[in-house]
């Protein structure tokens, strides 16, 4: 009986959490997409600053990680393909798994580590020092002021980063292809391009936009629900990272299922 009520409680809490995320995401989307046409201009300057932080500054580390991931994928694929004498399919394997899944996912995880945590820490600190309250008493919506620029930066930069990550992954794979599988650089790249359908790339990019929304919503929600005291900021930052990774995987699953069942073969 107690177990049942505990399960029930967890489910209710989970649903309430998703509800708050949707509410926050919805309000941010309203301020990004609707409010500018009703005389509440976007904070482009702040959004650009955020885009620099979220996107451009993530490039070096993201490039390195996805290059390695591409190389690892090639090695792992070759291990299997070699047995069937199909090692020339390495390019296909890397290109498809990068663009459909690993490109968006690895990008999301890097961005969670760099920016999702930073969102929670920034907003959490502002909460503790009453800066959020100050915004409200000045009749400035904290969502409009703080969340919307991050939201805008994320939904633009995450797909861009994902495209970059895909390219770096394929480049990583090509290193193996050229060194071990008798490809030339040009032939490897051509094989990758031939292997890809437009759909592979677009589904990956659609997912990355959804990841961007999820990461912003979780990071900002955790920041805004920070309690009193400095240690609470640390707690919400940790929670933002863990919850973001979890929610991104859930969103990934939902969209992958959707794409799987809506694509005719």
């Amino acid at each position: 009986m107690q177990l049942l009520s505990q399960i029930g409680g967890s489910v209710t809490n989970g649903l309430a959490y998703v509800g708050s995320l949707a509410l926050l995401g919805g309000r941010a989307a309203f301020y990004t997409l609707v409010a500018p046409f009703r005389g509440k201009p976007l904070r482009l300057q702040r959004a650009i600053a955020q885009a620099m932080e979220v996107g451009v500054r993530a490039l070096p580390i993201l490039s390195l990680i996805t290059f390695f991931i591409g190389l690892i994928l090639a090695l792992q694929a070759a291990y299997e393909l070699r047995q069937f004498g199909a090692i020339n399919l390495v390019a296909t394997a890397v290109a498809v798994s990068m663009t459909r899944e690993l490109g968006p996912l690895i990008t999301a995880i890097v961005v969670i580590g760099r920016s999702g945590s930073a969102f929670a820490a920034e907003i959490g600190t502002m909460k503790v020092t009453e800066e959020i309250d100050a915004l409200e008493t000045m009749a400035i919506s904290p969502i409009h002021f703080l969340v919307t620029p991050k939201f805008l930066a994320m939904i633009i930069m995450l797909p861009c980063l994902t495209i970059w990550a895909n390219a770096m992954g394929i480049l990583g794979g090509s290193l193996f292809g050229v060194a071990q599988a008798d490809f030339t650089w040009a032939r490897y790249i051509q094989a990758s391009i031939d292997a890809l359908f437009m759909r592979d790339i677009t589904t990956g990019l659609i997912k990355s936009v959804m990841f961007g929304i999820t990461i912003t919503a979780v990071g900002c929600l955790e920041g805004l629900s920070t309690g009193a005291g400095a240690e609470e900021v640390g707690r919400s930052t940790t929670k933002a990272v863990v919850m973001s990774i979890f929610m991104v995987v859930v969103v990934d699953l939902i969209f992958t299922l959707m794409f799987f069942f809506t694509t005719e073969h």
């Binding site: 309250d133 409200e136 400035i140 009193a228």
Partner: protein
């Protein structure tokens, strides 16, 4: 509450009521923090809300500016009950009030100038050059002329408070709220802030509401005071009326008579566990 005190006002005030509380109750979860607070603040008057730690005075202030929702009761500001209006209407009223927070609550990522200019940039369509002039004026008013390019982290505690006051003044508010203006400041700096509050009152005939537990400061700046204890109004009146009050709780507070903070460990534990959010001092 002593009703004879409530009806008497300081002579110099206009008779217009600026802010009026009617049976205000605020709860955090199951725990009621304020048990029916009622009093009026007149235009141009400085009202000091006095109370010990945990008396509910900070909660009262947060409720007055709409940061906490009361469980029942009314708050009338400029003829509107802010507990029963839409967010848009509340924002409209908030443009006419200024609030100076305990720690300043300046935005750490912006310069002092950007902090002070923020409400102007958000809510007005003034030219950038006009905003620059206004921001210099506001900084001058609080004695911080020339500090617009400093970051808040580079300011001392007292200067942060002054910058926060400048930001609160940006929209030329009709009511100014102060949360513990002298908290964390040495006596000399604190006296400077008291002086600033008096100057603002004199220069702009602004309605000022100050929450504090500093007796010296309270007696200096107040026209009237209201003493809050355990979520109730214990006494309200002019400085002289409170000084000459014979009510035991008032005397105890003003004469600084010690009292054991918490009777039993269990009560204290209960108090801690029942309070899910910021300390309601």
């Amino acid at each position: 509450m002593d009703s004879s005190m409530d009806t008497e006002r300081a002579d110099s005030q206009d008779s217009e009521v600026m802010l009026s509380l009617r049976d205000l109750r605020v709860s955090y979860g199951e725990r009621e923090i304020l048990h029916g607070i009622s009093f009026d603040v007149m235009r141009g008057e400085t009202m000091v809300i006095l109370g010990g730690s945990g008396s509910g005075k900070s909660t009262l202030l947060r409720t007055l500016v709409g940061l906490e929702k009361p469980s029942s009761g009314q708050i009338w500001i400029k003829g509107k009950d802010i507990t029963a209006i839409s967010q848009a209407e509340l924002d409209e009223i908030r443009r006419k009030i200024g609030m100076s927070f305990q720690g300043g609550a300046l935005f750490g990522s912006m310069t002092v100038g950007e902090n002070v200019a923020l409400p102007l940039r958000e809510h007005t369509k003034l030219e950038e050059s006009t905003i620059e002039i206004m921001l210099r004026l506001k900084l001058e008013q609080v004695g911080l002329a020339g500090f617009e390019y400093y970051m808040p982290a580079q300011l001392s505690g007292g200067m942060k408070k002054r910058a926060a006051v400048a930001r609160a003044l940006a929209m030329d508010p009709e009511i100014l709220f102060f949360d513990e203006p002298s908290a964390g400041l040495d006596p000399i700096i604190a006296a400077g802030i008291d002086q600033l509050i008096q100057e603002l009152k004199k220069a702009f005939r602004m309605t000022i509401i100050v929450v504090t537990h500093e007796l010296a400061s309270a007696f200096l700046i107040a026209d009237r005071m209201v003493l809050i204890d355990k979520g109730n109004v214990v006494a309200i009146g002019t400085v002289e009326q409170l000084r000459s009050s014979t009510q035991p709780r008032v005397r105890q507070f003003l004469d600084r008579v010690a009292e054991p903070e918490v009777a039993r460990e269990l009560d204290y534990l209960q108090m801690l566990t029942e309070e899910p959010r910021r300390s309601a001092s």
